[in-house]
Symmetry: C2
Subunit: 258 residues, 2 copies
Amino acid sequence: MLQKHVFGWRSQAGRHMDLEAFVATKEVVSDSEQIASDTASAWDSLLQEISHRPKRATERKQDRAKRTEQQILHAALRVFARDGISRSRIADIAAEAGISTSTLYEYYKSKEDLAYDVPLSHLAEFFESYHANAASRTSARERLLLYLVMSADYAREHAEWARLLYLEIWPSVFVSDTELRHSIDDFTRVILFLVKEGVAEGWVSPERSPYETVAVLIGGVNQLIITWLLYRKPKNLTRAGTEMAERLIAMLENEVSR
Amino acid sequence: MLQKHVFGWRSQAGRHMDLEAFVATKEVVSDSEQIASDTASAWDSLLQEISHRPKRATERKQDRAKRTEQQILHAALRVFARDGISRSRIADIAAEAGISTSTLYEYYKSKEDLAYDVPLSHLAEFFESYHANAASRTSARERLLLYLVMSADYAREHAEWARLLYLEIWPSVFVSDTELRHSIDDFTRVILFLVKEGVAEGWVSPERSPYETVAVLIGGVNQLIITWLLYRKPKNLTRAGTEMAERLIAMLENEVSR
DNA sequence: CAATTATCCGATAAATCGTCGATTTTACAA
DNA sequence: TTGTAAAATCGACGATTTATCGGATAATTG
């Protein structure tokens, strides 16, 4: 059981992207076509990396077990979203999944462990969904707009999951050193990347710290989502998310064009 | 024990402010002096209300007990901030406070109950501190700037408390129907009030939903604070908070002056 | 089909929460 | 000061929940 911690846990696969991108952009190039292509490839690598981050170290051998794992995750999401993590009982989740309590412990070593694994699959799905939709967008501005709009809309579509992630897990300190933390960090890395591209494209002020700009963007959208999750206001989250995203980007543009 | 829930709990005192403010501003007035005075009084009433929101229904009779209550709150803050709420043990908190576990239950009926009471006193202190500092500011713009800057700075000064509030409690759904939820709502009400004043003063766009504007402001500042709590970046939170606040307000101003 | 491994579960240990009655301390009036 | 009722404290104990372990059952492999 301890072995799980020592290795196999939190694989480092896919961590080489930064180096590759670094090498790629350091190549001596002369025409802007080449540069654009490099940037594009860095963008693809980033998306590739974040959607392929490995989920679990231990892989189940039997089909039945894979089904059980899915049932546990599904049941846990339902129960956690209904009762909140701290009020939820492992026994309830196991019952909901149609297995015994001890079987659940065969899959997850603690309630905390389970809670941190539940949001992962949806997060990966979001990244994949974004990856598909972003293919047609060429400018960083369009990509960023889509990203912000989609994150609000995804929360609306998967309210149980969003409730768990945004209201209970996202800010928690104790997610550190967790696969989930890496995925959450990935979420912000995408925005950071696009903001830096925005500077290159000339519609984001180079005078401002990109990190501060990221905080403004994520903060605004998340605050909107959290308010919706808590009070179901605004009624139409999709539209509010679009308006918020467009407004935030327009605000950034205003900073340079004056 | 159930009685505690039925009454005495979550006092409604101070809930009449809205009505009073409504009546005041509906008075027929002709000159702008009078309007300004009314607005000022509404502002004072708001600050008055939020800093005097009653803390607990049950008041301790003995000096020793009041000291004990303080010791519990102090110990709980330390332990919660160190271990996180869910990992903290009531026994540890009691030990840290120098009392027995059963005595602690004499004061708080559950760990959850305790966790939701801990942030209250600091929140009240923040409001009082702001109230004092805001006295010299006359425009809504200055008051809002001060509010945002002070909230970031207060988090820096009281990092343990901020860690508890921002990373564990603020977004939690289960704070609903709690005295704490009212205080957190108060926090946003102040900003909402100032945003609406900003529209009247002409530097906030009337085309935008005030609620959306509030989300942008709170979201940006909170995201900054959360990032600092998690990663201690940016190093200098006070300066970063000031920059963030000034930037956000400038962004709002940009929306109208073009 | 036998051997091996993976999965599942009932029984039970361990940890933590929360309660109760008895005891001590405090506030205060006489 | 002292008696007394109320307030506060605590140790012992019950209840709930988390987590473990060894064996039974099912799947896989050769």
